[in-house]
């Protein structure tokens, strides 16, 4: 069950209604049952693997905390983490490892495996470090692992933040409304912007030989937007879904495309994953405390692991190398990866930097999007070809038509939905970004609160209409899933 479907909306509505009708002491049991059902719809195997991982983590957590000495605790922590990571690696790389065999192993990747594995590894490490007490109630622990808003693709929750909220949470109408708003924002990001742009982007990438150089360039520069809105949209829907139950998940994105450096993008992009790598890999390796050379080696290790996690293809490895090279280069020229603050963040120079960073980011994502090296070569060849602008316009409109319609009314609805949603998304992200440039300020993740009621409602309706229109277009033409669903 994907979060951007009508089925999920109905599911969430029913679960919310029953949740609030139940006495408080039964609510978590009901949420657990709903989460089990949610994962069951993705396949019993996914549910089985998740429950198995939760059992292993629960068992090891208690053992680590009650270990006789630090050495035993360390060994138990290592054993638990190795088991979890081996489980993840098995499902991720079994096919690649056995690809030389006549019948290589083919396994369906369990839904959400990466994300709850990361959370579970973090939990064991935190218990070992003494950052949190082990959870003694298995149903609470299982709920934290299977909690349906975030099980598919995160945000990766730190157990020390999530479990206390599951045990006791304050829910007000304002929080529920905020949750619903985040759901609407997420739906707009995912359905209108990500899936809407995917019609053009995937239309080019899936038929490389049939398109012109200009179309290829257009797809190249639209892809980063598609990727961002896809994942940020999902994350917003996950955060919104959790908020409806009074649980605040961590933000996963902080307006990354307003960054003025590659380092800053990584601080604002898939934050929970970046923080996980930082806390559980980079810092244990020594971080930046052991000199510049060791820092660079540690960065290399972290980005290599990240690249391998994203995929086991040659193009993914190339992407990893490109990312590492970018980070090294930037570190060499500018050690400040935190970004600009105050008035400095809004000068003409800073806007030029943003454009250059977006172009640079687009180039680094190029291998990430490609399936094979041959595709990369073919793409570069296409971009080099000359193209008549008049022909490109027809080609672009044909791509946008997506087998649905090529009438003026259709184009008005399609492009109108995207442009309106892009404007609203830019305002949301710019407000968020601006709030992060002031030192010590709390990021404004919900700019709607500050708006007058009438303006707010007009925006709600515009967003809702755009989502409905694009949802129907996607249903007719057949739409993409979440890009990060398979990780």
């Amino acid at each position: 069950m994907l979060l951007n479907t009508f089925t999920y909306l109905c599911f969430l509505a029913v679960v919310t209604a029953v949740h609030y009708l139940l006495p408080v002491k039964y609510r978590n049991y009901f949420l657990l049952a709903a989460s089990i059902y949610f994962l069951w719809t993705s396949g019993p195997i996914s549910l089985g693997i998740a429950v198995g991982a939760a059992l292993i983590t629960f068992f090891f957590g208690k053992k680590i905390a009650s270990a006789a000495d630090r050495n035993t605790a360390k060994k138990l922590t290592a054993a638990g983490i190795v088991l979890l990571v081996l489980n993840l690696c098995w499902f991720k790389y079994a096919h690649l490892i056995t690809s030389f065999l006549e019948n290589p192993i083919t396994i369906l990747f369990p839904v959400g495996l990466s994300f709850y594995t990361f959370a579970s590894v973090g939990y064991l490490a935190d218990v070992y470090k003494g950052a949190m007490e082990p959870e003694t109630d298995f149903t609470e622990w299982l709920l934290s692992v299977l909690f349906f808003p975030h099980i598919l693709s995160g945000p990766i929750a730190k157990s020390r933040n999530l479990i206390p909220q599951l045990k006791e949470r304050e829910v007000t109408p304002e929080i529920i409304v905020e949750g619903m708003r985040r759901l609407l924002i997420g739906a707009m990001f995912k359905v209108v912007l990500a899936d809407g742009l995917a019609i053009i982007v995937n239309g080019v990438y899936d038929n490389l030989n049939s398109h012109s150089g200009l179309a290829a360039l257009t797809a190249l520069f639209l892809y980063p937007l598609q990727l961002y809105f896809d994942f940020a949209g999902y994350s917003a829907m996950a955060v919104g879904s959790a908020l409806v139950f009074g649980v605040r998940l961590q933000e996963n994105f902080l307006a990354p495309y307003f960054s003025t450096g590659m380092g800053e993008i990584w601080r604002r992009w898939h934050i929970t994953l970046s923080e996980w790598f930082r806390d559980y890999l980079y810092f244990p390796l020594g971080g930046s405390r052991k000199g510049e050379s060791r820092t660079l080696i540690n960065l290399l290790i972290v980005f290599t692991v990240s690249a391998l996690w994203h995929g086991n293809t040659v193009t993914n490895l190339i992407w990893g190398v490109v990312i590492v090279a970018s980070r090294f280069l930037e570190r060499f020229f500018n050690k400040n990866s935190r970004g600009l603050t105050g008035a400095e963040a809004f000068t003409a120079k800073s806007w030029m930097k943003r454009i250059l960073v977006y172009i640079w980011w687009t180039m680094t994502l190029f291998p990430f999007r490609m399936e094979t090296v041959d595709d990369m070569k073919r793409f570069i060849q296409m971009v080099g070809e000359k193209q008549n602008l008049g022909t490109f316009k027809l080609e672009f409109l044909n791509l946008a038509a997506a087998g649905v319609s090529d009438t003026g009314t259709y184009y008005l609805i399609y492009f109108g939905s995207i442009i309106a949603s892009l404007a609203i998304a830019t305002w949301i992200d710019f407000t968020l970004y601006r709030s992060t440039t002031e030192r010590g300020a709390v990021p404004v993740t919900d700019p709607f609160e500050a708006l007058p009621v009438r303006r707010r409602w007009i925006l709600y309706w515009i967003m809702g209409l755009a989502v409905a229109a694009m949802y129907i277009i996607i249903q007719t033409g057949g739409g993409p899933s979440f890009i990060y669903q398979g990780y």
Partner: protein, 325 residues
């Protein structure tokens, strides 16, 4: 919480209004608000809805050459009601799929099956029919189809604008967008208009030539499926007749040029052995008369009644060859 629910309801109101507009104006009259009068006469969805609602005993299948025939006239001539399940652009595989769907939803007595053996694409599969059936059976699928929303918007625009014009004392200015495969909308061709209305038959033939790929004839596999259809009809007491609608002589000559007539004749022979056929596809004075054709395949409204008479009666004529096994 009550406040939240009230606000949710308020939020949903414009969407419900839009849905209401859709239901009121969508061209298929799916929900029967206009007495089941579809604006589209030859779309497959109309055909399947007709089947689901009326459960006809006698059906006609075929592409646009059959789908534009007047079924009221067919009933008048034959004395029995017929329902058109064919549609413009239908491929043989799709028509076969539609036949099988009809057997599940009605007690068939007679089937008039228009065949086009000269396909430009590989047409073995069910094609569009599964999606059409889904929309016909499930209102949610129908509502979630962008094409129908666009149709509803256009229909609303047309009707509202015309009402505005007529209220201002002017004649209606907007017509419902024509379905280009719906030749029933082509009025009598005024002789003085000549080429303006009728497509240039030479140019049309050249267009068809360019559309043909390497294998312009229906596959044996498709003919095998037609044989299955006949076997089912024989086993269930259903009368079936295959019709090969007329083609202009220029198209016949094109088929000769492409050297595909022999293979088509082979398939016709296989089908003639097991089921009656009404064959118009040969050179004769009818097919050589340009005035009998709107384009190489389609007849104008003035001529269609003659075709209906020939298909639904035993009227002898030079332009038709009837065979029974």
């Amino acid at each position: 919480m009550k406040k939240i629910v009230k606000k949710l309801i308020l939020y949903c109101l414009p969407f419900l209004v839009l849905l209401g507009m859709f239901v009121a104006f969508e061209p298929y009259d799916y929900f029967g608000l206009r007495g089941g009068e579809s604006e589209y006469l030859c779309k497959p969805l109309s055909s399947v809805r007709e089947l689901l609602i009326n459960h006809p005993e006698n059906i006609v299948l075929g592409d646009s050459r059959m789908a534009n025939l007047n079924m009221d006239l067919a009933e008048e001539i034959s004395g029995e009601p017929y329902t058109m399940l064919g549609f413009g652009g239908a491929q043989t595989g799709e028509l076969i799929e539609l036949f099988w769907y009809a057997t599940e939803h009605t007690e068939l007595k007679k089937v008039v099956f228009g065949i086009n053996l000269y396909s430009t694409i590989d047409e073995q599969g069910p094609g569009r029919i599964p999606s059409i059936i889904e929309q016909a059976e499930d209102p949610a699928h129908f509502i979630l189809h962008a094409g129908h929303w666009l149709g509803a918007i256009n229909a609303a625009k047309t009707k509202i604008m015309n009402r505005v014009w007529t209220s201002l004392g002017h004649p209606e200015r907007m017509t419902f967008p024509e379905d280009p495969t719906d030749y029933s909308r082509v009025q009598n061709i005024p002789q003085e208009m000549g080429e303006k209305y009728r497509l240039n038959l030479e140019e049309y033939r050249d267009l068809i030539r360019s559309n043909f790929g390497e294998s312009p004839v229906v596959r044996q596999e498709t003919v095998d499926k037609l044989i299955e259809v006949v076997e089912y009809c024989d086993a269930n007491g259903i009368e079936i007749v295959f019709v090969y609608p007329p083609i202009h002589i220029s198209i016949y000559e094109l088929y000769e040029e492409l050297d595909i007539l022999k293979e088509a004749e082979k398939y016709k022979g296989q089908l003639r052995e097991i089921a009656p056929s009404i064959d118009f596809e040969f050179p004769n004075s009818f097919t050589e008369n340009d005035d009998n054709f709107y384009d190489g395949y389609h007849l104008p409204n003035t001529v269609k009644p003659y075709l209906v008479e020939l298909v639904f009666t035993d009227l002898p004529a030079e332009c038709v060859r009837r065979t029974t096994p």
